[in-house]
Amino acid sequence: MAMLEVENIHVYYGNIHALKGISLTVEEGEIVTLIGANGAGKSTTLFTISGLLKPREGTVRLEGEDLRSYPAHEIVAKGVCQVPEGRRIFTRLTVLENLEMGAFTRTDRAGINRDLERVFKLFPRLEERRNQVGGTLSGGEQQMLAIGRALMARPRLLLLDEPSMGLAPMLVEGIFETIQDINREGTTVLLVEQNAQMALQVAHRGYVLETGQIALSDTAANLRQNEMVQKVYLGIT
């Protein structure tokens, strides 16, 4: 049984048909990436998995259990955590409080402290600013905070929405290394990226989304070789 099975989901915003039958699976231990243009439905897919959006049709199953009837916060407790796109950190909470919110469902004090150390080691800038309010951080620092916050949840399945967005080139490398580290420690990752280049390098498999539908799915290596992907998403002619 796959860890996550998404089957033929249809999602609407009002009467805009945003997802037109997306199906995908993520096996335990994998990094799977979703690539596609702006508006193709990548973020919508993640929001549907994490329960903030409910599909009108289709099912989302985590280890065989149907997630549709659970509210978003209970899905988090089941080990699915999403890092949303953009800098949606809590701007009026301090860095430390933001990280604590990430660990909201956990009760193991020691483990939380260990993870806090880990995040601070990963992003020393955050430790320097631990008592600063989130809104005063720079864009890049906010992105670090968003990822750090998700790591604090110790999820089994991490949904990452555009982690590289707005980050300096050096940091992007670092972020993707971190993603691989997290994965090696046993976290399954579903990664949405517009930076297809990097995403296909770290991922095991990938799906290409176009206007609410899956256009292609294959191993990352094959996708890298795919002519269409090369042309459209990798900028190689």
Binding site: Y13, G14, L52, G86
Partner: protein, 561 residues
């Protein structure tokens, strides 16, 4: 997932206890006792009992609705359980009320109430009867829901009409029952108090029958009407309009003095409602201080025409009326300017504050030399048309009717005009409206000004109708009243204003026991309407779609730019 055939114990117990708490509350706040004296069916059932048992039946009905998939028998069982549980708080009340003298805490836990809920028996028997009655009622409630809708609708509407006619029996007898044909019909359907049993049955059968006939044939009638050529359709519409006007013209003759007096009050509220409808319904500006303009209209009329100490103008009604309206318009603009940039909910509170300021000023010693303070303004003359002084309600009726017709006409013309579209666009999205070249300042001020004009006119007529005005007539409750009535009728809808005013102003005037509970019911009504039927009883077509639209929207977790 709940399996649909299993009996949902927990839900039924919950609902039963809720029903019980509701029934107990109704008893303890005095509703049951107060209305216990008003018989719907003479000697059989009073309004108080209907409140009490209606609540239980309603919950039974509602829970049957929620267990939609369950088998009929299971559902009935649920209704029974709910009814029995619902009686328990009342049973407890029966047994504790006397030994601990509950009345020192709760003045309404009176012997009269106990008498009512024990059905006049001693405690144990009474309690047993109560349990049995409530159980049966819960069962009936669930049962009604299980009927096919072909039967259910006529049944419910029939019951509703029996209730309504029973409720109004006193008035009906007063108006028509004492001479001619009325005197002959009267013993047929009315008892000394309320309907007779025979009358109730008769009313029920006629209404239910008519309703059943309409639901089977009504569509065909409507279809035939739609199929008429447009010329004939227009003729039909015109003739019904003219018919309506004729009825309005002769209404006082049908209704007689007492009812006309009531209708006059309804009319004043309709006038205010039409004004507030422009502000809230068309332009989307929630104004909770609307009474201020009513007060200003009334005081202007008072000061300009009064023949007492405070009168300064000594004008006639007709001379002063334009000034009264103008004063309200000016007040509307003066209030409008500072609040132009405020968002909806802040606007509500500020306008509420404005209304209070006007009332406090009217009451204060500060302005007393001008407008009389708590002593008010006296000796305001009546309006005259030709040589006739409009004193009797029947005469005032035409003045009020005229004002309402003018206001309704203006509202109707404006709604489909360029200004009406400006208002609507502003209500929908202020920023985009502005980007369409709409001057928000002008558009908002016009809404406030026109709304204030109607209210001012209403106030002016009110002043001359009563001959004297006092600050306490202009409290916040008037604003709430007007707001409630346009919401009840349907925000933005012109016929809705009339429907709302008839229900919220007309009915309570007819039922004097309502006085104390009027606002309790308004409050509950506002909540229930917003949840169940936010578009009101007679909605404007688009508003209905808008208010139900949000239910379809999924969570808006759209990633922002």
């Amino acid at each position: 997932m709940e399996t649909s055939t299993r009996f949902n114990w927990r839900e039924s117990v919950r609902m039963g206890l809720i029903a019980g708490v509701i029934a107990l509350s109704l008893s303890l706040i005095g509703l049951v006792e107060t209305f216990g004296g008003r018989d719907i069916i003479g000697g059989v059932v009073s309004l108080g009992q209907i409140f009490l048992f209606g609540a239980i039946m309603g919950v039974g009905y509602f829970s049957a609705q929620r267990n939609l998939n369950a088998r009929a028998g299971v559902n009935l069982l649920g209704g029974l359980l709910i009814g029995v549980l619902a009686s328990l708080p009342l049973v407890v009340l029966i047994f504790v009320a006397e030994p601990i003298n509950l009345r020192q805490f709760l003045p309404n836990a009176s012997p009269a109430l106990l008498e009512l809920i024990t059905f006049g028996q001693e405690q144990v028997t009474g309690a047993l009867i109560m349990v049995a009655v409530c159980g049966v009622l819960g069962l009936i409630g669930a049962g009604i829901y299980l009927l096919p809708s072909r039967l259910r609708r006529p049944l419910l509407i029939g019951l509703l009409l029996v209730l309504l006619i029973g409720l109004l029996s006193e008035i009906i007898i007063l108006a028509w029952g004492n001479k001619g044909l009325g005197l002959k019909i009267r013993p047929l359907i009315f008892a000394a108090k309320g309907l007779s049993i025979r009358g109730a049955l008769l009313v029920f059968l006629v209404v239910a029958g008519l309703n059943a006939a309409w639901s089977s044939q009504g569509d065909r009638v409507r279809q035939r009407l739609d199929a008429l050529p447009s010329g004939q359709q227009r003729a039909f519409r015109w003739s019904s309009l003219i018919l309506g006007l004729v009825i309005l013209l002769f209404l006082p003759m049908i209704l007689r003095t007492y009812l006309t007096e009531v209708i006059d009050n309804v009319g004043l509220y309709v006038l205010m409602g039409l004004g507030l409808n422009i502000v809230v319904g068309f332009a989307g500006l929630l104004d909770l201080g609307y009474v201020a303009f009513f007060a200003i209209g009334a005081y202007t009329m008072g000061v300009l025409t009064s023949q007492g100490d405070l009168g300064v103008g000594g004008m006639s009604f007709w001379m002063a009326l334009p000034f009264a309206v103008l004063a309200s318009v000016m007040a509307g603009i003066i209030l409008g300017v500072p609040v132009l940039r405020m968002r909806g909910d802040y606007l509500a509170i500020v306008t509420l504050g404005f209304g209070e300021i006007i009332r406090i000023l009217a009451l204060s010693d500060f302005l007393a030399p001008v407008i009389g303070g708590a002593q008010g303004i006296l000796k305001i003359p009546k309006a005259r048309i030709g040589g006739v002084e409009l004193v009797a309600p029947e005469q005032l009726y035409y003045l009020i009717l005229g004002a309402c017709l003018i206001a309704a006409y203006v509202s109707w013309r404006l709604r489909d005009s360029r200004l009406g579209r400006q208002w609507m666009a502003m209500r929908e999205d202020e920023d985009v409206a502005q980007a369409m070249g709409i001057d928000l300042v002008q558009t908002k001020l016009l809404a406030f000004a026109i709304g204030a004009a109607f209210s001012g006119m209403s106030g002016a007529i009110f002043a001359s109708k009563l001959s004297s005005i006092f600050p306490h007539s202009f409290n916040l409750l008037i604003s709430i009243n007007v707001l409630s009535l346009i919401i009840l009728g349907g925000i933005g809808s012109l016929p809705g204003v009339v429907v709302g005013a008839l229900i919220l102003v007309g009915l309570p005037e007819l039922l004097r026991e309502f006085a104390e509970y009027r606002l309790l019911m308004y409050g509950a009504l506002l909540i229930v309407m917003m949840i169940v039927r936010p578009e009101g009883f007679w909605p404007e077509a688009t508003r209905k779609r808008e208010l139900h639209g949000y239910e379809e929207l999924e969570a808006k977790a759209v990633p922002a730019e």
